[in-house]
């Protein structure tokens, strides 16, 4: 595709429910990143994929958070038993190795 695509663009969920956020990177991009953007907190690194493997998952805030990438392309970020503090914009980016990272428009998650 022309750019990084994320879905859904908005998600409202009840506390305690599981959610899945999807990222379609730019075709051919081997690196994929997930970031979380909270108000006034900048962009918080969550996890980085190179191909299907995740050499750096140090930013995942708890074991409720997990991510996978299949076929070196689409990635899914899963949050189990959502909490109100999980409310944020979740951003995905992709790049060729060590080149410019292109971001999607993000998924705004609201936990009520």
């Amino acid at each position: 595709g022309a750019g990084v695509s994320q879905s859904p663009s908005n998600k409202v969920t009840e506390k305690g429910k599981d959610v899945e956020l999807r990222c379609d990177p730019i075709s051919g991009h081997t690196a994929l990143y997930w970031y979380r953007q909270s108000l006034g907190q900048g962009l918080e690194f969550l996890i980085y994929f190179q191909g299907n493997s995740a050499p750096d998952k140090s930013g995942l805030p708890s074991d409720r958070f997990s991510a996978e990438r299949t076929g070196g392309s689409v990635s899914t970020l899963t949050i189990q038993r959502t909490q109100q503090e999980d409310s944020a914009v979740y951003l995905c980016a992709s790049s060729l190795l060590n080149t410019e990272a292109f971001f999607g428009q993000g998924t705004r998650l609201t936990v009520v």
Partner: protein, 110 residues
Amino acid sequence: QQQVKQSPQSLIVQKGGISIINCAYENTAFDYFPWYQQFPGKGPALLIAIRPDVSEKKEGRFTISFNKSAKQFSLHIMDSQPGDSATYFCAARANSKLTFGKGITLSVRP
């Protein structure tokens, strides 16, 4: 520990003025320093970037100045325009991971 620190937290500039945003970093392993611009409801977009073997890079109205010994770099926006009003993030990369500053909101008054 915040590895990349931005200042000021917000900035208001008159149209035609110079906007200056500063960043300081801690990790000497960082090897790439980009600035991102973000408009409301959009993802961040790369504005300009520099590597540590260069002290300055200019692209149009945007200039990065880099001081390796001080571990600081700054973004200068010349002839600032209302359309430049956005949030600006500095970032630094090590081991393929980008670490971002907290961002600064720039408002350019007409």
